[in-house]
């Protein structure tokens, strides 16, 4: 839980209030203006209703240069950010031909597979030439190649489940699977901070949805007891089935799921568990097998394991792993398997090859090195940030570390100042976080060297002083040490 300081909350509210008031003021004049120029809608309702895009027009556009920055290289440890300019007060941004080489603290390139890799890339190109970029067909028609079957076997083996099914997009994996498994009369209990794809899938399923407090097993138990005792709303029939959905690492919080406790509760109350490992698979655990391995949970106790390949594996797509029967059933019913184009063969090859590297099946120990590196990098970076007095949330071992900014004015300030000094960070604001809890998010990669991290820390510390986001006092003697370390370099 994030406890926002009282004064900060007040100033944050004040800032948003001011932005809102000015926005409304401008909207008022725009309306007057529109009224005089007479609308050109010819009797249609406006396609975007006024308040629906108020936030975009009046708040987001002011700082839109901090988001969607185009790059023109692979999203490796360092990448080329394309500079943009605007002639109309940030309303539209135009690309220039100028680029700046920046340290990448934003991409989900946990294991460093985003860039060309000595083992993966040649195999991917070979696959491209053999299978072409697409099959133009769904898995049940002409979209299953030898490669797709190999991939499913490889993934099942990697996550330690009997079988797996893969899709071409992680988002669709969640949003198309939940409607197949759950329906009217079933209950989905979802963590309050679950990803939008899970929310969408749950909504699409028609099941009843209840939310439990983020990562709080005791509240989960409370909700489960209440719901089992109450049964379905109105009729009080017992629930057909209950599934509890959690994520391995919460991407906006950097927190690890309290999986052992949650699994124990689910077992006790006979609820099924659905674990989304989008950010944890490949990134944590001794052999990269995700939170189950890290926290010592037997994968047999997790009924449905989901994950995506867009992060650690540097590819695209998602998987569901579970019992043989479950996967067979999904292959017969899941619309994403029946209708969507099968995953692109070169992307499939990238996943297979990167898993082989992680497991050391490529005949080197690069995989083990990468895993050790990301763990070391993450823990080093997190502890240094904390020592400097930033409010860093999340758990040790997690490569995702949000730094709280709170105030809306600090979002663009932090992002722009860091970029000026060639460090690219991600800032996150509403709608991805609650309005008050804007933050910057650092994603550490195994491909960052110690020098990279030290440079990043220097820049972030300087910008942090400038922007005023060191909400805690720094630890004095440790900072000295850090100062020394920096001098050594």
């Amino acid at each position: 839980m994030i406890a926002i300081p009282y004064l900060t909350a007040l100033t944050t509210y004040f800032s948003y209030g001011l932005l809102f008031a000015f926005g409304q003021f401008r909207d008022f004049f725009r309306k007057l203006f529109d009224w005089f120029t007479s609308s050109n809608l010819h009797g249609y309702a406006p396609i975007c209703l006024g308040l629906e895009d108020f936030y975009i027009r009046r708040l987001y556009l002011r700082i839109q240069d901090c988001f969607g920055r185009p790059i023109c290289s692979a999203p490796d440890a360092w990448f080329d950010v394309v500079e943009r300019y605007s002639n109309d007060n940030n309303k539209t941004l135009k690309r220039t031909t100028k680029i700046s080489r920046c340290l990448n603290l934003g991409s989900y390139n946990y294991l460093g597979f985003a860039a060309a890799d000595e083992y993966c890339t040649p195999r991917v190109v070979e696959t491209l030439n053999k299978y072409s970029p697409s099959t133009c067909s769904s898995r049940v028609d002409g979209g299953t190649t030898l490669l797709h079957n190999e991939l499913e076997e490889c993934v099942a083996n990697f996550v330690r489940k009997p079988a797996a099914i893969v899709f071409g997009m992680g988002y669709v994996t969640n949003s198309a699977i939940l409607p197949v498994l759950m329906g009217k009369g079933s209950l989905i209990i979802s963590d309050s901070l679950n990803h939008n794809s899970i929310v969408n899938g749950a909504r699409g399923s028609g099941a009843t949805i209840r939310v439990f407090q983020h990562n709080t097993p005791s509240h989960l138990e409370e909700v489960l007891r209440e719901q089992i005792a109450e049964g379905q709303p109105r009729t009080h029939r017992p629930w057909k089935k209950i599934v509890v959905i959690v994520e391995g690492i919460y991407s906006m919080e950097g927190e690890l799921c309290k999986l052992p406790e949650i699994v124990a509760i689910c077992k006790q109350y006979k609820a099924y568990t659905y674990l989304d490992e989008a950010h944890s698979i490949g990134a944590v655990g001794k052999t990269g097998r995700g939170v189950c391995e890290l926290l010592g949970v037997d994968t047999a106790d997790v009924d449905i394991m989901m994950g995506t390949f867009t992060k650690s594996f540097g590819s695209c797509g998602g998987y569901i792993a579970g019992s043989k029967e479950l996967i067979k059933y999904l292959k017969y019913t899941c619309p994403a398997h029946l209708y969507a184009t099968s995953i692109s063969p070169p992307a499939a090859q990238q996943i297979i090859s990167s898993i082989k590297v992680i497991l050391g099946e490529d005949g080197s120990n690069r995989g083990a090195q990468k895993l050790a590196q990301i763990r070391e990098n993450s823990n080093f970076f997190r502890s240094e940030l904390q020592k400097m007095g930033f409010e860093v949330i999340g758990d040790n071992d997690s490569p995702v570390m949000p730094i709280m900014l709170y105030n809306p004015a600090k979002i663009p300030a932090f992002s722009r100042e860091c970029l000026k000094q060639n460090v690219a960070v991600v800032t996150v604001a509403f709608p991805a976080t609650p309005l008050l809890l804007a933050r910057a998010r650092i994603c550490i990669s195994a491909s960052h060297s110690r020098e990279d991290l030290i440079k990043a820390l220097q820049v972030i510390s300087k910008v942090g002083d400038l922007v005023g986001i060191k909400y805690f006092p720094a630890e004095p003697q440790k900072q000295q040490q850090e100062g020394k370390a920096v001098k050594f370099d």
Binding site: A45, P75, S132, P133, I228, G314, P346
Partner: protein, 485 residues
């Protein structure tokens, strides 16, 4: 009787008295030109009483919550259903496994077969230029983009690809999605919310159905590709919602229906749309790069400028032989999606090599208009070859690259129909090495159009391929369905 009259009298005089008393001091009070009379005091008093009563809890029998022990028992007693229903053996059809690229000819079980299962309409699978652009992109950018578009997942090729599509179609801007299926189910809820009205064809693809459901709008279906039904539906809705202002109204149609191979009559839809003031969302997944003299899709086919339509979406996993999807339209429509469309905001962007492939595919299409002629001739040739086939009717439009064979006589159950069709498809593959597929339906799919055999014609098929396919289908259909008729 007497009593009540007395009481009434007394009450009346009491009220008069109260009025008098109240009026006396304030009779001449005028605030901002508003006369404050005694009735105002009475009204304010009544208001206070009402508010007071409202604030009181209504009477409820005291509820005794369940004790912990009772809840424990209930939890112990509860038995959930299994996660999935028990599997039915006959459902489990294993699709053939391809051993090479899914081009017009491919290898299954070590044997070369003619492939009618891939929507590779222009025959671009395996095209050298496409492969070259992909491999240089792979070397430059890696495979995945490792981030959503907002967070350094925007790569210059994405922007180039969006501009290329918009330029090709003559629209203002376009937006890329990382998967074809996610395009419609993200785009629809971005523009249509609870209370808005969508009139959709009953034969639309599942991706669209899902988008309609997720938008929580009022959805009304009209009969598949039936313009009279559409007109009636629009008429009904218009009269029903005459008074409601600021209600967004949409017609959702597919250009070529994946579920039937029919082509939507865009000219009539435009007339109706303009008459009833609806906006049109058109899915061009199977017509982009296929219809029109230069492959610009249904709008070109009917000579309608693309900006008459408000939102056009398409999957790129068909004619363009890559993956992903796009939506195109006015700058306002596109910009709105960049922050409001869930599948765009919350998902990693399209792998850059697939965006490069899309750009190259459009280039190839523009440089080789003969691909379209070839495709048209191939469709016509297959139609000619299939004429007189036993037990089937061709349900698709003669210009559609999806040639849809529907059973003349259904067995009465969808399951048996499917088994019959599967049987034919399997025999055609085994006996004559022609790979055709049945249309399959997920249990979630609400589309009720009849199932059939679907052939995806490609510009890459040769005349002999097409002849072989139609001969084989005719032969097997006569053997399997001959007895039925």
């Amino acid at each position: 009787m007497m009593d009540s009259a007395v009481v009434l009298n007394f009450v009346n005089s009491a009220i008069d008295w109260v009025k008098l008393v109240l009026d006396a001091p304030s009779a001449r009070a005028v605030v901002f030109g508003f006369h404050i009379g005694g009735h105002l005091f009475v009204e304010v008093f009544l208001l206070v009483v009402i508010l007071f009563l409202l604030s009181q809890k209504s009477y409820k029998p005291p509820k005794r919550p369940l004790t912990n022990k009772e809840i424990d028992e209930l939890c112990d007693e509860w038995v959930p259903e299994p996660l999935i229903p028990s599997l039915n053996e006959d459902l489990l059809h294993e699709p053939p496994v391809l051993e090479s690229a899914a081009g017009p000819h491919t290898i299954i079980n070590g044997k070369e077969v003619i492939n009618f299962a891939s929507a590779n309409y222009l025959g671009l699978i395996g095209h050298q230029k496409l492969l070259d652009s992909c491999s240089s992109s792979l070397e430059k950018y890696g495979v995945g983009s490792c981030g959503p578009r907002g967070f350094y997942g925007t790569i210059d090729v994405h922007l180039d690809c969006e501009a290329r599509i918009a330029k090709f179609l003559g629209t203002r801007d376009s937006i890329l999605y990382s998967y074809g299926l996610s395009t419609m189910f993200s785009a629809i809820p971005a523009f249509s919310k609870k209370g808005d009205i969508i009139v959709a064809d009953e034969g639309v693809h599942w991706g669209i159905q899902n988008g309609l459901y997720l938008s929580r709008s009022t959805v009304v279906y009209f009969k598949h590709n039936d313009m009279d039904s559409l007109r009636n539906t629009l008429e009904n809705i218009t009269s029903k919602y005459k008074r409601v202002k600021n209600l967004r109204r949409y017609i959702v149609v597919e250009a070529i229906y994946q579920n039937s191979g029919q082509i939507a009559p865009l000219d009539e839809i435009i007339k109706l749309k303009e008459k009833y003031r609806f906006r049109v969302l058109l899915d061009e997944s199977n017509s982009f790069g296929v219809l029109g003299i230069s492959g610009r899709g249904l709008t070109e086919h009917f000579g309608v400028p693309a900006d008459k339509l408000d939102i056009i979406t398409a999957a790129m996993g068909h004619a363009l032989a890559t993956e992903g999807g796009f939506c195109t339209g006015s700058a306002r429509v596109i910009d709105h999606q960049r922050l409001s469309s869930s599948g765009y905001v919350f998902s990693a962007s399209l792998p850059p090599y697939l965006a490069s492939a899309a750009i190259t595919a459009i280039d190839i299409l523009e440089e080789n208009p003969n691909l379209l002629t070839k495709l048209k001739n191939n469709i016509a040739a297959l139609w000619r070859g299939l004429s007189g086939i036993t037990g089937f009717t061709i349900a698709s439009n003669p210009e559609s690259p999806i040639v849809y064979l529907r059973l003349e006589k259904s067995t009465g159950s969808a399951k048996d129909d499917l088994r019959l069709l599967e049987n034919i498809a399997e025999r055609v593959l085994k006996e004559d090495s022609v790979f055709v597929v049945t249309s399959k339906r997920s249990t979630l799919d609400k589309c009720r159009l009849p199932l059939g055999i679907r052939l995806f014609v490609s510009a890459g098929h040769s005349v002999s391929d097409l002849n072989k396919a139609s001969e084989s289908l005719k032969k097997v259909a006569a053997l399997v369905l001959g007895g039925h008729n």
